[in-house]
């Protein structure tokens, strides 16, 4: 990165099953205005807008950046749209940050959303694509066999996924923006919930949410201004990376995808990370189905291959349990899943922690955090590192 840049404004809507009080534009504008005001700005101060969401099939609005231009205050400005399936929220933030890191713009607004109540994700993810084998089972049906392969490979006990499901829902109880608040959550409650796609129970799956997320990313000059105007510190970006690979090819390791490992290696090189478990104070990682926590612990190099489940089992990733590397303190995707925004929420939550604004789910003295999002058939990855320290 050539120019220093940081998150200076954050906005998110409360995630809910149905936001019947707002249109898509109203939902997106709510998060965008919050972010702009958090940075002590108005839309007039924004140089460019970058928007992301999951595939257009979801709500059936093609190229929604056209319709949303006015709601985002983008008229007369550059407006970009990013597409990378479930990882899109993260990729969108990265595209926005590069507009600042390249020295082209001073302040960029980035926004991501999904209004799942206006859509049918299960249908949209099951429509046959040309030249691909049909899925016909939504995301859970696609990922369950990969999870079973992980269990077989690692010898993990069957209750690991349920432990993640409980842990993330306990975290969500401390996050007022989370969709699911389940005060009675327990291993028994997860185990007693309906089996959807073996080994995934209903409560090991993400909810279907309406929600939007937004951030303002600023240059060093914009950071100084925001800090003096608002008294809130920035979250400096120390590295960002994206990688992708095809859905299927001979020899592909879908449990521990090469693209994810390559993405992490590039990111850690930029940010000077040698031991992720020790170097990060927390991480927000895209875990839409419980078992993806141990799988991504390994893919992201927090432990040796095959050992991810042991960290989860020992409570290392639990904020409430006092683990050394809390993951998804916000409750994660398991507690709120406005799909297009879910990746950005991971990135946004790391910035919230670094700025010390996470409230009840704040990791004490969080100085460096990892945000990760993945999408498609575990094939699109986006990641960033944010820190209290200026790079």
């Amino acid at each position: 990165m050539s120019e220093r840049c940081a998150v200076i404004g954050i906005g998110q809507t409360v995630a809910k099953s149905k936001r019947e009080d707002v249109s898509i534009a109203g939902l997106v504008r709510e998060a965008a205005l919050m972010a702009v005001e958090d940075a002590g700005l108005t839309f007039a101060d924004i140089d460019a807008v970058v928007i992301g969401k999951a595939p257009d099939m979801f709500e059936g609005v093609m190229m929604p950046e056209l319709y949303l231009a006015s709601a985002l205050g983008a008229v007369g400005k550059p407006l970009m749209r990013v597409h990378t399936a479930g990882s899109v929220g993260g990729s969108t933030a990265i595209v926005a940050a590069h507009l600042v890191a390249s020295g082209i713009h001073n302040r960029v607004l980035t926004v991501a959303f999904e209004k799942q109540s206006d859509s049918d994700a299960m249908w949209a993810l099951s429509v046959p694509q040309p030249f691909s084998s049909p899925l016909l089972a939504g995301a859970g049906g696609y990922f369950a066999p990969i999870i079973r392969a992980y269990m077989h490979r690692s010898g993990a006990p069957r209750d690991i996924g349920m432990k993640v499901a409980v842990k993330d829902r306990l975290h969500a109880l401390k996050n007022p923006y989370a969709h699911l608040h389940l005060p009675d959550i327990s291993l028994k409650m997860v185990e007693d919930s309906m089996m959807l796609w073996d080994p995934l129970h209903y409560l090991e799956s993400c909810p279907s949410s309406d929600g939007a997320a937004a951030m303002v990313i600023g240059s060093e000059r914009a950071v100084a201004q925001a800090e003096s105007d608002t008294g809130r510190r920035p979250a400096w970006i120390h590295g960002m990376a994206m990688r992708s690979e095809p859905t299927s090819f001979a020899g592909r390791d879908q449990v521990n995808p090469q693209a994810g490992r390559d993405c992490a290696a590039d990111l850690y090189r930029q940010a000077g990370i040698s031991d992720p478990r020790a170097d990060f104070d927390m991480a927000e990682v895209y875990v839409p189905f419980s078992w993806y926590e141990p799988m991504w612990l390994e893919n992201l190099g927090f432990c040796a291959e095959g050992d991810g489940w042991k960290l989860t089992d020992a409570g290392a990733t639990s904020l409430i349990g006092g683990g050394d590397i809390p993951w998804n303190c916000s409750g994660g995707v398991l507690s709120s899943n406005p799909i297009g925004a879910s990746g950005m929420l991971r990135f946004l939550e790391t910035a919230l922690q670094i700025r010390g604004l996470a409230g009840e789910h704040q990791v004490p003295d969080a100085r460096r955090a990892l945000g990760q999002a993945y999408g498609g058939g575990s094939q699109f990855f986006s990641m960033w590192v944010v820190s209290v320290d200026k790079p």
Partner: protein, 269 residues
Amino acid sequence: MDGAWALYEAWVLLQEGEIDAALVYSFGRSSPGNLSEILALQLDPYYMAPLWPDPTSLAALQAQAMIDAGLATEADFAAVAARARRSALGNPKAQVAYDRSPEDLLTEEYEVAPLRRHALPPLTDGCAAIVLAAGDRAYEWCERPAFITGIDHRTEAHAIGARDLTHSPSTKLAGEKAGVARSGVDVAELHAPFAHQELILVDALGLGPDVDLSPSGGALAANPMMSAGLIRIGEAARVIWSGRADRTVAHATSGPCLQQNLVCVLEGV
């Protein structure tokens, strides 16, 4: 968004020094579906899309607004189409090319008044790819590279009623930011899917009568969705490689009635 915006994104990373070469590609395959219905879905989902306005009807409203404002006539639209299809005769990749007089074209029936068949783009399957390289790498790979010396894009409001359809302020602003007027322009490749839109773009970019307009035939000769804009950049680069031009402008558009526009200035050194 057209692939031209993907090229912009690659250009950002090149500017930053993150990378020094990039492959940009985009494709559009309109033949298997019903493009008119699909494009209606890019409109405001609450107030416009339920009316299913097709892109030709929206473009016709824009053309009629030009006639009503005294800015152009149907004969002007026919003149644009006749020139574009004649130019396309020299483009082996063109889908629609012919040598017919504007008077002859004006005998066609209306598709949606005031637009006759000649003023409409064809339905196209197509794909384009562009290789970008920074600095010295460009000279390693190309004898006479076309350097991007300015690129910018801007959007307008979505609601048709909130815009003056006879002008393109977003193209004008993008052109100013990209520095179109800093020096003379030899060739302009304009992404004008409907004939009358070329007149709006020429005005917005301040192009004089000596500028060679869309010698490839433009989007009237072939209009692959999501690629016709990227192709304009490729065509504007190609005339620099060949030495036919020193400074060119490429334009790409997205959305109904030229809602969003990108302008790219290319120069041979």
